[in-house]
Subunit: 325 residues, 2 copies
């Protein structure tokens, strides 16, 4: 029931996922049974698809923690609980990010040694991708939290993006070790002595340049940066429009360039790429953008499968043991 | 002596400024006299130009506070001191930002009622400009500091950009009043009861959309955002290059669109526009980008003149009295 186009896009994405799954997994759609069944009727029936009823819906405007308390039979709570009970190996949602985050943390619990579960976002760079962590889950962070984000992010990228020994950068206001705010300066010390592949401080300009594989920041900075990045295509569109309006030559050049611009601008839309993982919980929880298309939903389901297959959580647990021991 | 192209760009910019000044002001070039004189010889002599010798140079790699202590005869210290002594009505530099900031704060002192002087940056939006404050001067901020940044930013925009009663937005992770980190949530309360034209929280995506005239954040976030924004054109350039390499049609369309793209991308380069003001000190101090061109230097000088003419500091002092009283 999550996302701006629920349940139809979610159902369609799930249908596509099982169709392409070659029988490897089944999907249980959690939510208001009659509405989901109505959507399912539009597609060929499949034994890999089932429905679990949940009467309530937490929407994008609900305050996460309040909603989890008042809507006890929400699709999020029911779905995450099914996952904890072993009725599913992963939970995937395009719903209220804060609610999925809270429900997953509360119901699944944290991996041993993890102080704060986090979400990360894979964003495009000039040369490839980089994983920004925390992407908005934790706004006020202690140095230890930032350090753990780096550890979990590095494991995720190593396992899921096939980057050998990913490099970690700590987002700051200068490259030198003396630059930073209170929390980042202390976190820098933790990274320096960790033995991880730590690059050092990185600046705002280094993100899109792809200087490192993992960029660590608190969720306040991460959220603001991601939303800023998302707004860049619209900014350029407005500017090109104004440029085109100046004269016929400009107009023609923009017309000719339009498809190219569309292709390139789309790359900044990191949410095309299939959801962000919740890292540090005892389970698999993938959170998608509210505007997730069926394709995005499908990609999230495949990403959840891969998350399990690559043993991300086992690796996180081992790392935490190492850094706590 | 400040900036990557000192002294030649700085001298050239100063020469241009006095040429266009219609005799309204004179410029004293502060720094190593022989090197400056050598540059000045390239231009027609002018009675509006003079040189004040300072033997030392603080460069971009110097740690600001340490450098101010060890290089007591630096062009920054000498120049700011001349300003305090009334030998100049404003100080303009493309040098080490931190050093200009510290020297200005220490030597000029703060305007009564101001806790922390700040720097702001005027950045382009879809519809015009917005003033981001703090742009990097203060990394760890208390709620009161954020509030003062908003007050000073609003006065600056009102006086210098001719925006009547500028709207102020507090940068956060959601629009609702419950969204934010500890400092921003408390600052929100201060803004709400201030009687200022306060819009409320704004998100990362609202900046370029131009939702408000003044965006308030701490200098850690501000610095990271500005540098991220600066790197966007290079990102798109790399992506367009890759797009063009795919086939001849793509290549042609990018060739045709090149001049338009250059025009539009340049708009993100906020530093073209003539330096950032230091707000809250007892004086006028304009800080330029290290890469400032002669044109940027010239614009900074004109901006300093305007800053004086518009009585920005008197307005700040009056506002602080109002909010402290």
């Amino acid at each position: 029931m999550g996302g701006d186009y629920a349940p139809y896009y979610v159902v369609e994405g799930a249908v596509q996922a099982v169709q392409e799954s070659q029988g490897r997994f089944a999907v249980t759609l959690v939510g208001q049974k009659d509405r989901i069944d109505e959507e399912l009727r539009k597609f060929p029936t499949s034994e890999q698809l089932s429905v679990a009823h949940a009467s309530e819906v937490i929407d994008m405007h609900d305050a996460p923690n309040a909603a989890l308390k008042t809507k006890r039979d929400s699709s999020i709570t029911v779905g995450v609980t099914m996952h904890r009970e072993g009725k599913g190996d992963a939970f995937v949602s395009a719903g209220n990010t804060g609610a999925v985050l809270s429900a997953s943390t509360l119901i699944l619990g944290r991996i041993k040694g993890v102080s704060r579960p986090t979400i990360g976002a894979l964003i495009p760079t000039e040369s490839g991708k980089c994983f920004l962590v925390d992407a908005g889950a934790n706004v006020d962070c202690r140095p230890r939290h930032l350090f753990e984000f780096g550890v979990m992010g590095s494991i995720y990228v190593g396992a899921m993006v096939n980057t050998e020994n990913p490099s970690i950068g700590l987002l700051s206001i200068g490259e030198e070790d003396i630059k930073g705010n209170e929390a980042s300066l202390e976190a820098l010390g933790l990274f320096r002595k960790s033995g991880l592949n730590f690059f050092g401080n990185v600046e705002g300009r280094d993100i899109l340049q792809g200087k490192v594989d993992v960029v660590v920041c608190d969720g306040f900075v991460g959220n603001i940066l991601l939303k800023f990045g998302e707004s860049v295509p619209s900014f350029f569109k407005a500017k090109f429009k104004r440029f085109a309006a100046k004269n016929v030559m400009n107009k023609l050049s923009v017309l000719v360039a339009r498809s190219g611009m569309r292709t390139v601008m789309k790359e900044l839309d990191y949410q095309e790429h299939g959801g962000v993982p919740l890292l540090g919980v005892n389970g698999v929880s993938i959170i998608g953008h509210g505007g997730s298309t069926p394709k995005a939903i499908k990609n999230m389901i495949f990403r959840a499968e891969e998350f399990i297959r690559r043993g991300v959580n086992t690796k996180i647990e081992e790392a935490m043991k190492r850094f706590n021991g």
